[in-house]
Symmetry: C2
């Protein structure tokens, strides 16, 4: 075996190693994939839209926890974190909500819904108590973005401050007095793609005073 | 030149081509980069924290517009989009806000601040009007996430519903009667890294009713 042949073998091995590395090296993934390395936060913010129809596929416990972790990562006034989250998977309960609340009728067909609640026992005193609305809204937005990020879809359907919706949900779910449901977010795998709205209005920005 | 030598040359060229492809193929970028292909939305949601100290470096008009676009991509009740945004870059105005509002004192040293306002002329009628608070809170959270995504830092400092803060800001900025400032978000390049809080509390999740 001469030098040239040895070199051949070495180069052949090198080609195989490099080819292997090339094909296993992870590039940016395609958009629309469940995993989202190719989508920036700005992409997801603009991709998020109200998804009102879902397939029957269940949302995994792992995904639900990921979504709820995102919710709890929201900022809150004086870091009170005045929130509680209820996961509703019982089809009978989902159907009751969808049937009773006209603005939440898509809850009926969703595999799961998250009830975002303010917890007045954790909120501030006096007028500071009202910050739970802003804090839970920020948490809700994080939840919607996490849903979008995971390839799922959902929609913010409001409860607070509609008196009739509040009393219905409180009664149905037997919520304690200090728990105020802000909204219910049905979610699942989107039944069809929904193009997001373009809501950019330069006139909403005041660069040099009013 | 025998066959073995020709094979050598072919293999050598192949090695060079594969090595070139391997090194130019774009993998996920390092975290912490300004560009964020490597950070998912979930990363950014968890990375976001209140940044209260900034360098003197100005925030570009382009970045501000990106941030405001994210704000306007938030959902809103009945798609009313009841918001307006004021960009405050005048150091004298920033100083006045920082001096007057104890909870917004970091505005003084920020290169810019965004005032997130509800626009009651765009809001619903009667009790539906109140949704501007939730809608503008969702927009604020989008703004904070966009700030984080761009390598900037900011903090939600609230105005509404504190009467004294509302009247001060309304007077200082000459806001029309139908414009209600929800918060002021100072932002800039972070003066130092701030580790985010871990606010995950499994007890906040109610999987099987209350």
């Amino acid at each position: 075996m001469n030098l040239s042949k040895i070199l051949n073998v070495i180069l052949l091995v090198l080609v195989m190693v490099l080819a292997f590395l090339l094909f296993t090296k992870e590039g940016p993934r395609e958009n629309g994939q469940r995993s989202s390395t190719a989508r920036t936060t700005l992409d997801v913010i603009h991709e998020r839209t109200s998804i009102r129809e879902y397939t029957k596929r269940k949302v995994s416990r792992e995904d639900l926890e990921t979504i709820l972790r995102a919710g709890m990562a929201a900022p809150s006034a004086m870091n009170k974190q005045p929130w509680q989250f209820m996961v509703i998977e019982d089809p009978k309960v989902l159907a009751k909500i969808g049937d009773q609340l006209a603005t939440s009728k898509m809850v009926r067909e969703a595999p799961v819904a998250i009830l975002v609640c303010g917890d007045l026992q954790k909120a501030g005193e006096g007028w500071l108590e009202q910050y739970w609305i802003q804090d839970c809204s920020a948490a809700s937005q994080n939840i919607l973005l996490a849903i979008t990020e995971l390839g799922l879809g959902g929609v913010w359907t409001s409860i607070y401050p509609a008196e009739s919706r509040l009393s219905f949900i409180t009664g149905l779910l037997d919520l304690p007095e200090h728990i105020i449901p802000l909204n219910v977010i049905p979610l699942g795998y989107p039944a069809k793609p929904v193009p997001p709205k373009d809501k950019w209005k330069p006139g909403n920005v005041h660069w040099h005073g009013w």
